[in-house]
Symmetry: C2
Subunit: 427 residues, 2 copies
Amino acid sequence: MNLRFSNALILSRPDKPLMRGDVCVTEGKIVSVGGASSGFAADKVIDCGGNLLMSGFCNAHTHAAMCLFRGVADDLPLDRWLFERIFPLEDHLTPEDVYWGTMLQIAEFVKNGITCMADMYFYPDSVYAAAKNADLCLALCGGANSSSSYDVVKFIEEMYNKYSTISDRVRYFPGLHAEYTCEESLISAVADLAAETGAPTYIHLSETLKEVGECTVRHGGLTPPQYLHKLGFFDNGGLAAHCTYADKDDISLLAQSGVTPVINGGSNLKLASGIAPVFSMLQSGMHPALGTDGAASNNATSMFREMYLYSCLQKETMKDAAAVGAEDALAAATVNGYRALGFAGGSIEPGMFADLVLVDLAQPNMHPLSDPKKNLVYSADASAVLMTVAGGKIVYEKGIYHIGESLDKIYRECAARIGRLLTEAHF
Amino acid sequence: MNLRFSNALILSRPDKPLMRGDVCVTEGKIVSVGGASSGFAADKVIDCGGNLLMSGFCNAHTHAAMCLFRGVADDLPLDRWLFERIFPLEDHLTPEDVYWGTMLQIAEFVKNGITCMADMYFYPDSVYAAAKNADLCLALCGGANSSSSYDVVKFIEEMYNKYSTISDRVRYFPGLHAEYTCEESLISAVADLAAETGAPTYIHLSETLKEVGECTVRHGGLTPPQYLHKLGFFDNGGLAAHCTYADKDDISLLAQSGVTPVINGGSNLKLASGIAPVFSMLQSGMHPALGTDGAASNNATSMFREMYLYSCLQKETMKDAAAVGAEDALAAATVNGYRALGFAGGSIEPGMFADLVLVDLAQPNMHPLSDPKKNLVYSADASAVLMTVAGGKIVYEKGIYHIGESLDKIYRECAARIGRLLTEAHF
């Protein structure tokens, strides 16, 4: 299938000037960018109408099926949110619950221009089935802990073997929930598995000050990054979600070992967890990725909101309105995430996945068009998304979803399932 | 004209439970709420399709025509933003520029569900003409300073006399830009005018720490609220935009004199100005209103974003995820603003203006429907707005704007005008 996106204002990468022209796609990958591409034999031409074509967003940290819990655990601190609401509900989750919750989240993702997700949750087979429906680029991340009722290391190994070769749009990251929920023997065993396979790893890291403080007490003064490095968890690099309280030494350590922090500004604000030191990370040469976290703690999963927060929370924290610019936020939301996850995507360049978003420039909040990049970060929201393309397939277009299940069925299934879960958890 | 909005899920006020039923409107005002209203002789029935009907938003602080400057002054600190970019551009503004800039802003407002605006800017006659086009509820606020080239007090008096009786949907607030741009004689003269007319006033107040510090040096240790109270500026109450650095005594003073703080979380973040003490204001019994500020500093003008920030920035600041709940944010965005401005609106109750927003519940980010109020604040964005009704007239419906000018013409005019202004200001 050969596709031509014609008449576009192309944002190839956040650090490049915009250009006008066509983008040609063959078998789900970009083959040419810019110019009029009249020699390309397209099976289908999509007229972009002069609107802005950019990379789809990479949501580099989420728990997609937690979408089921949206609106049932708001206005609570992280500890009570997690231990009193979320864990009791999760105790009753079935693989089918995870499938339908993930489908609801994917519907929201494609409406919001998200084409790649790093998902940490239960039942990866269900998550994979849902993501495959919508052709999303998927990184499955282990997220078990020492309370898990199954053999975690064996399971991670099985999943790694199954999903590492299934498609160039799927990867599996051996990973764990967090230092504070995992015993040392489990962390070491996953580190050993990473060493054997050469796989980078994934974990929640230094999300709250409580986590950091308690870790230093438990482990002879070591912060979570220091402790995990000592155990070899990051010997092949990887990704660390949150890093809200990564200090100067932590940032240096993570940068040295090639670990990408995934910033979740919206979730951290709502749970009152803090604001990650993005300015320092950028100064250290890191390329942070961006995530929405799960819908139970954010509750939107909009990369537009996350881009705005990535830049503006840092301006406020540093008391410097120039601290982190719009272009940095665009990079975090696209190319940084794809590259950290090891996918050929996140920019509109030959060889990259045709994971694309068409942004409506005819909406009032995009005018005047003095600087479309600034408008994207500071002014746009998800209503600007006209079309989302994942792996060369149109998965969303003007209110129509092509994600393998109907919205009506997704809504019915999710309503019934959260009703059952609330009853089973005795809420 | 009798209108019936049938089959709605009605959010009459943020502190009331949702109900199902009809809302009937006669001559731009609500006459009945709830039930099936079969006896009402409607000229037109609008089937809400089970979607959520709520009050239109009150944007209680904006500079609408600054929409022209969107994208030309980003990633700069407030001082440089104001003195190096904004003031030089404003030196060249014509009444026609303000009309077209305001029209662009109004297009964005109605798309985002905003039906009432408190506008502080030049050429109030242009602002009034634009707002009248779209039937918006309008509070015009004086915003001149001691550098203004005309007789400010005379002008305020003329405008007050002209706009105080023109319509029950228009009010004029004698006001000034800020303490740091106005000499004492000017502030006193406006205070005298307020005393004569009984009018409440409007001003930017304690927006930055610099403003507060310099005020205390200039005025014998008095903070901006203390200094303005001393001069009698707030003897009839009024509204104060920002109040970012209002301390405990300031809050008490403002509360006593019935001054409503207008919170502008988005603008304050982007300009690195700070986070207003909303929690303390609520504890003091205040009912803060919410504003977007101008599009040159925000840059979106979405009350969805402002509601999210109103609640979540406070959670983070107070390190308490329960500090300010979703219902408080909804009140700030609707009823608090309308009431502070003296308009009969902001809630769906008999006698109130038919300023309404129909919110799409069929979008993924509104599901599950476990708690629609939480979803509105934490998960919704402007793409949820199906219809906006101002004074009983449909001003926006599914991408169609009824605001007296076409989008194409507005975009063309604004593009040409910002081009001319940038040239004239030698940028």
